[in-house]
């Protein structure tokens, strides 16, 4: 890090090069994330085609109101995140920090609601495993639906938790004025990650809650 260019790493020639690298790196990382979830989406696609009735039955067990609520919460958090990045870009670190804390709050609300949904599944013996119980035909295939439900939403929730921790770190850095219009790359990268996690939910919600519902 040279004296006259704070925040510029030693191996970069210019802020521009550093920013371009960070952005490309983050996008590339998100591509790997898409493929990471892709394995689960492929499994979902295969089993949904093989056992459509069971998946419809499983889908009916989910609480669509809570699902809708959570979707709105996440979209709102994306908005606060986008505004926070804008704040960082224009050098208003304190504003960005407040917006980031708001994003964290919304993310936590999402997780709490998700927790209530999981609890409900527990109460109704819809957790896959030996204690799984489902009244109706094809209960084993309904169990497969719930395996996928928990795998997909669980992986998504894990990403949310990582996201909230990241946002917290960035909020702290933003408050102390670490981000300048020349270098707010980490803030922007975190924003991209947050939007990606929201986007995954935008796919999960219809696939798990909506399709096949009458």
């Amino acid at each position: 890090m040279s004296e006259d260019s704070p925040g510029l790493a030693h191996h970069f020639d210019s802020y521009e090069q550093q920013k371009d690298s960070a952005t490309l790196g983050m996008w590339t990382f998100l591509v790997t994330e898409i493929l990471f979830f892709g394995g689960l989406f492929a499994a979902y696609g295969l089993y949904r085609t093989s056992y459509p009735a069971a998946f419809r039955a499983g889908s009916h067990e989910l609480d669509i109101t809570l699902g809708c609520f959570n979707t709105v919460v996440l979209i709102a958090s994306s908005l606060t995140m986008a505004l926070a990045v804008r704040g960082g870009q224009t050098g208003r670190g304190k504003l960005a920090s407040v917006l980031l804390v708001l994003t964290m709050v919304l993310g936590t609300v999402f997780l709490v609601v998700k927790g209530f949904e999981y609890h409900d599944k527990f109460v109704h013996h819809h957790i896959p495993g030996p204690s799984f119980h489902f009244e109706g035909p094809e209960s084993n295939h309904v169990q497969m639906f719930f395996v996928l439900y928990f795998a997909m939403t669980g992986l998504h929730a894990l990403h949310m938790i990582i996201g909230i921790l990241l946002v917290g770190y960035v909020a702290k850095r933003a408050w102390s004025g670490a981000y300048t219009p020349q270098n707010y790359n980490f803030l922007e990268g975190t924003g991209l990650y947050w939007h990606f996690v929201d986007l995954v939910w935008i796919f999960l919600f219809p696939l798990l809650y909506l399709i096949g519902r009458h």
């Binding site: 790493a9 030693h10 191996h11 090069q17 371009d20 690298s21 490309l24 790196g25 590339t28 990382f29 591509v31 790997t32 994330e33 493929l35 990471f36 979830f37 892709g38 394995g39 689960l40 492929a42 499994a43 295969l46 089993y47 093989s50 056992y51 069971a54 896959p128 495993g129 030996p130 799984f132 084993n140 295939h141 169990q143 497969m144 395996v147 996928l148 795998a151 992986l155």
Partner: protein
Amino acid sequence: MTTTPSTLPDGGPRTHYLNAAYGLKSWLLTRDHKRIALLYLVSVSVFFALGGFMAVLIRMELATPEGDFFQPDIYNRLFTMHGVLMIFFFLIPGIPAVLGNFLIPLMIGAKDLAFPRINLFSWYLYSIGGALTLWALLHGGVDTGWTFYTPLSTNYVSTSVLTVGVGIFIAGFSSILTGLNFVVTIHRMRAPGMTWFRLPLFVWGHYATSIIQILGTPVVAITILLIAAERVFHVGVFDPKIGGDPVLFQHLFWFYSHPAVYIMILPAMGVISELVATFSRKPIFGYKFVAFASIGIAVLGFLVWGHHMFVAGQSIYAGVIFSVLSMLVAVPSAIKVFNWTATLYKGSISWDTPMLYALGFIGLFTIGGLTGVMLATLGIDAHVHDTYFIIAHFHYIMVGGAIMGYLGGLHYWWPKITGRMYPVFWSKLSALVVFVGFNVTFFPQFILGYLGMPRRYHSYPPEFQVLNVMSSAGATVLGLGYLMPLIYFTWSMRYGPKAPANPWGATGLEWQTTSPPPVLNFETPPVVTTAPYTYPVAANAPEVRSV
């Protein structure tokens, strides 16, 4: 390629990346891509030695048909761990993380990779994954075969599938991050004048490899995670009891693991392109063809996974499609072989050690590739599937191809990496011994496979013994061949003669800087004005010190 040469006079004390700092901490916390490459060199060598040791035990068992050396459960652990260690901890990281890490910034004229901290983090991930796997090895190992087919791996074995799975998962992220680092570096960090078509083919090979690492590895990561979850919760997406399809696992697994073969071979192809050009002293014949062939292999490689499943119960029409696509992958590979051969034509060919490895590669890869074409042929694969024919084929690609490329590359860049030369006679002898030992080991296995000897058999019918004994004998020779570089490389680090900046008279930015390079790679930032492998006409040829 002209740059402002910045070599200091040889011999005098000079600061370079090796002596810039001392102590364990200066290595374990380094962000210098060259030092991280050396960390990888040590780690992958350990795993190669372990995997090789297991191969020796396997060949020992197979010298007799009865299965009298080990119990079957031990034998199954041996071949499983051999596969896991060699594939995930040696071949996949091998060339990219050692040679790629060291050379890509040097070759494109950058000070470092785009994300030096992530680069170090990758090495730690790799080490943690490797340590977990070794820990599992000491606690019963794993006996599912490196392919982890369900439901065997999820419901029917009691070995350390979970630990090894997590180990591979973690190492997988190391691979993803290395690929990501390379892609960003190649896109954003090139020196002025280093256009895409002035990149050395080594860099093209690594670019193609990185694409596969980025797109493929996450899929196998989630697949292995699902296996681990199924073992923990006793229920999961591959569980037949709730309608899970074991063939789904195979699709997900091979979607990565077939392209993974190209993760192993594409960097080696990149090395070979460098070697053939340097030791023929002329540009690669059809540079753009070879560069695009790498990308073509990477892209087509994602469309052929189903050829591992011709007899797995998938529809025979799916088999037809995967067969024709697999045939197409052979075309870019064939182009490369022909272009390398044509490069030799009217070259100025020296018989230095790296070139001997390169020529060995061309021969073995040709046989490996053509037997691969046989396996892509439905009617033949239906017979030799999962026999020793497969074993022979992929060892021709991975050992005859990837490891020959790796060793060739090490011999080529060793003077740059360490600043020392190694003994000429012994290194040439090692190339010969490896080539002979390899063929004696694996050629009989083609015949064994066609005769019908299935893979992963602890005991076998007695009529297969003659060929098995040949193979085991060859393995001994091959093992000796691998020990030799280990010994003389270690020797040369201390006692080898000092290497000049450019011992082979090669082009390429990495040869314009000193050996070993300074911490930030170049004394003055290089500027590129010509295509790669541009040799001056004979009259003003660079001064070359013969080795």
